[in-house]
């Protein structure tokens, strides 16, 4: 029965006009899957098998992985265990079709003999109609691929505050300027606070930036202020990158990891590297000559002079100095690691379902946050500290605060595992990349999903925000890097070049260059400024979501750097725009 319906529809679509055919072809895949699942659920095993045999070859190539999984689901019991498939059955697949094509389809399906398909279409598909030109196959191919179809236009309409928060004014006191000998000349002048160039331009509130107190953020401590001063000093020495001034790349290769390296993080000031391993350990190395020390015992601490200036040095125990510290505690491979911005804490998330907070002063575990009951694939501290986000196999991402043992927010909506979680630079939004091939942007304040980005053809493994907060770059197993404009909710670029999963992405400190690292053992540098200039953001584009991506991957590629069979697991730009990359040597 279903075979007839499907063949009938197929015939109709193939005979329709060229301009409509591309759009109507979008119907094939969801209808195929839903019909197949219906047959399996109602235990018509043989019909399901023959249905599958007959039509699975017609589907688009990028759905082949899904179809393979489907082919193994032949009984109702198989379906019961697969949460993703069950969700797929109950949720509606979203299709975006122009009004003309839709009229055509409706007219055909409402004919007497096609009533059944019309019912199926109404039950399982959500057709988002837009007025305008039908889309070409190329445009459609760029946007489809996710497990639930595309995103409804209204899902991407809400206002997102993508601007950055204002940097607090910090006066640089005279005492701290000991190295800057050249420009001093002994003049005891009081320097004006060195604000970043972004902040000094606008005294008034950036309309795209969230209000300072939209979400509660921790206050700056004195040590944070000192850090910021250091940061500002480093910024002055920063190299401006561009197509003619590419950064040097320093690669940290983990030897003898035997494919056990599962997570890497580097502190913002590039002084520490943490590695999470499949043997459940987290190892912290010091990259600078300064060794890692733990705090003295309590009995010794009572003996030191608390009023001395270098008390922070004195509390450290010289006897425990070493370059490597190993942290034991997890009972499963460690899949995510994140340093806190003040370098006091390290977070690690593991297959055992917990996220652990480690102190980097005592090198012991402080808290285990239990909430996910399944492997936690990624975790990250907020850029201001205090909050952190974690995402795992249970298809949700959770927002925690270090002093609450339960999550503050739960971001539920993905159909499959949440592979990657990142904070926006203003800490008001969290982006999650999932195995259902979508990227969602969530509002921390109320937990709402404010953006859904579809277009990847494989599970997403890496995300990064641009430093100005306006753009998001995502990488997936399909080897493409996609660029998204957060404000408008559109795809603005596609970078083709990698041949394997893109597992790490990072923008340079001023956003001029995007570095991508992949399992194909290369690091590629892309020209971000060029990718984001000349954006068409007229009303038509935003209303209909039509995008016209230029085929300029080759022009944007600034360099490809090969490693010796080392997948690039992590990328980091130092404050002076030197690239640090990390990976484990895995000889074939």
């Amino acid at each position: 029965m279903y075979e007839e319906y499907y063949s009938g529809l197929k015939h109709f679509i193939e005979c329709s006009l060229d301009c409509h055919r591309a759009e109507l072809s979008q119907l094939f895949y969801p209808l195929f899957v839903h019909m197949y699942l219906e047959l399996v659920y109602n235990q018509h095993e043989n019909e399901a098998k023959s249905f599958f045999e007959k039509f699975h070859g017609d589907q688009e190539c990028y759905y082949q992985d899904d179809l393979r999984v489907l082919s193994s689901l032949t009984k109702k019991e198989h379906m019961k265990g697969n949460e993703t498939m069950l969700d797929f059955r109950t949720s509606k697949f979203v299709l975006r079709i122009s009004r003309d094509s839709y009229q055509l389809l409706k007219r055909h399906l409402q004919e007497k003999q096609n009533n059944q398909i019309w019912n199926i279409v109404q039950e399982h598909l959500y057709i988002d109609i837009f007025d305008g030109m039908p889309r070409s196959k190329q445009q459609i191919d760029a946007m489809v691929g996710s497990l639930a179809g595309e995103a409804k236009r209204e899902a991407n309409k809400s206002k997102v505050f993508f601007g950055l928060l204002k940097e607090p004014e910090i006066e640089v006191p005279l005492d701290d300027e000991d190295e800057e000998g050249e420009n001093e000349e002994g003049k005891p002048k009081k320097k004006k606070p060195k604000k970043d160039s972004i902040g000094s331009k606008s005294k008034k509130q950036d309309p795209n930036a969230p209000p300072q107190n939209r979400i509660p953020l921790p206050e700056l401590k004195d040590s944070d202020k000192l850090d910021k001063i250091m940061n500002m000093k480093e910024t002055t020495k920063r190299v401006r990158l561009g197509p003619d001034c590419l950064p040097s790349i320093c690669f940290y290769t983990f030897l003898n990891a035997y494919q056990g390296l599962t997570a890497v993080d580097v502190t913002d000031d590039s002084s520490l590297i943490a590695g999470g391993f499949a043997d459940s350990t987290v190892r912290v190395w010091s990259v600078t000559p300064k060794k890692l020390r733990s705090v003295k015992q309590a009995s010794d601490l009572s003996l030191i002079d608390k009023e001395s200036d270098d008390v922070l040095e004195r509390i450290m125990d010289e006897k425990t100095a070493s370059e490597l510290k190993i942290l034991y505690g997890h009972s499963g491979p460690v899949y995510g690691a994140s340093f806190s911005p003040d370098r006091n804490y390290l977070l690690s998330s593991s297959e055992d379902g917990t996220v652990r907070l480690w102190s980097l002063q005592t090198f012991t575990c402080l808290v285990g946050y239990k909430g996910h009951n399944y492997p936690v694939w990624d975790t990250q501290f907020s850029p201001y500290g205090y909050y952190f986000v974690s995402g795992g196999h249970d298809r949700v991402a959770r927002l925690w605060a270090t002093d609450h043992y339960q999550p503050l927010r739960i971001f539920a909506g993905h159909l499959a595992d949440v592979n990657c979680t990142r904070f926006h630079p203003n800490s008001n939004y969290v982006a999650t990349g999932s195995a259902d091939r979508t990227v969602r942007l969530w509002d921390v304040l109320n937990g709402n999903c404010v953006r859904i980005f579809t277009g990847h053809k494989g599970p997403i493994h890496s995300l990064t925000f641009s430093p100005n907060g306006r753009f998001l770059a995502t990488g997936a197993t399909d080897g493409r890097v996609l660029l998204w404009d957060i404000g408008h909710g559109l795809m603005v670029g596609e970078l083709k070049g990698h041949t394997d999963t893109v597992c790490s992405l990072r923008f340079s400190r001023d956003g001029e260059i995007l570095a991508s690292g992949s399992m194909d053992n290369t690091v590629r540098l892309w020209d971000a400024i060029k990718a984001f200039e000349d954006l068409e953001t007229d009303d038509f584009t935003t209303a209909t979501g039509h995008i016209n991506l230029p085929e300029n991957s080759q022009e944007l590629l600034l360099g490809t750097y090969m490693t010796k069979s080392t997948p690039v697991v992590h990328l980091h730009f130092t404050r002076r725009n030197l690239v640090l990359a990390a990976g484990a040597y895995s000889p074939q």
Partner: protein, 255 residues
């Protein structure tokens, strides 16, 4: 890859399944691992099915029992509507305000791992006949310097006590040492945490706490030792509920 003829039937089947699922490149060990997993899974399910069928007083195990076993063992994740509901509830509460100057932001102590997970038993008349002792040295630490401060005899002597109160002395250049009494003498320097007898307390050594402590655990401990250790535990904690002596939460007396 070995030619199909030399592989066992089930290994051939596994290779075929891998091929059907589109996996073309894999290490040869993968087949063995998959076979082992399949065996383990099937035996677990069948064991459960046997239990269910005997509970239903059936003579043989039939398909229904197996179905029930699979269902109960499946990783039941929450259905989507449940997750969305739970999320909506949780997301309605406003974000809590952050108190300034509140020290290290950690949850209440019950939810942290910063508490001591052992309790020292108070000194009592030495009744057990512990003859030997095991000296367990720290894993990553170099030589275990044995100094006279480590009592190697089980007799409580004032001499022992006075020496053992020196926590944090250079004796532990190399760090920490655990001394566990055993009723029978065994080879020294065994690198494992051996379960304690009744004579000795607190042997569940939380590895994450090892790093910062300097603990000598013997039954000859005096309370002074106790306080020294306890205070070292409260390194980064608030001191409100710092009554460590009465801390009953982590009482691992009987292991």
């Amino acid at each position: 890859m070995a030619s199909p003829k030399s592989m066992r039937k089930d290994a051939q089947m596994m290779a075929q399944i891998l091929k059907d699922m589109g996996i073309t490149e894999y290490e040869p060990r993968v087949i063995n691992q998959m076979l082992e997993f399949a065996f383990r899974y099937v035996t677990t399910i069948l064991d459960d099915a046997k239990i269910y069928s005997s509970h239903a007083k059936k003579a043989t195990v039939d398909a229904d029992d197996v179905r029930l076993a699979i269902q109960c063992r499946a990783d039941q994740s929450f259905p989507r509507y449940f997750l969305l509901d739970m999320a909506r509830q949780r997301n309605q509460t406003p974000l809590p305000l952050i108190k300034p100057y509140s020290g290290p932001g950690l949850p209440p102590d019950r939810y942290c791992l910063t508490a001591p997970n052992y309790r020292l038993k108070s000194l009592q008349k030495k009744a057990s006949t512990s003859a030997g002792r095991i000296t367990i040295s720290r894993l990553s630490v170099g030589s275990v310097t044995s100094r006279p401060s480590t009592p190697t005899l089980g007799t409580p002597t004032p001499q022992t006590m006075s020496v053992s109160t020196k926590v944090g002395t250079p004796m532990s250049l190399t760090g920490q040492r655990f001394t566990v009494q055993m009723p029978t003498s065994q080879s020294p320097a065994v690198k494992a945490s051996i379960p304690a007898t009744s004579a000795v307390q607190n042997v569940l050594i939380n590895p994450s706490l090892i790093g910062s402590k300097n603990i000598l655990i013997t039954t000859n401990m005096v309370s002074s030792q106790n306080t020294a250790n306890e205070s070292s535990n409260a390194l980064k904690r608030k001191r409100e509920d710092d009554d460590d002596d009465d801390d009953d939460d982590d009482d691992f007396d009987n292991l």
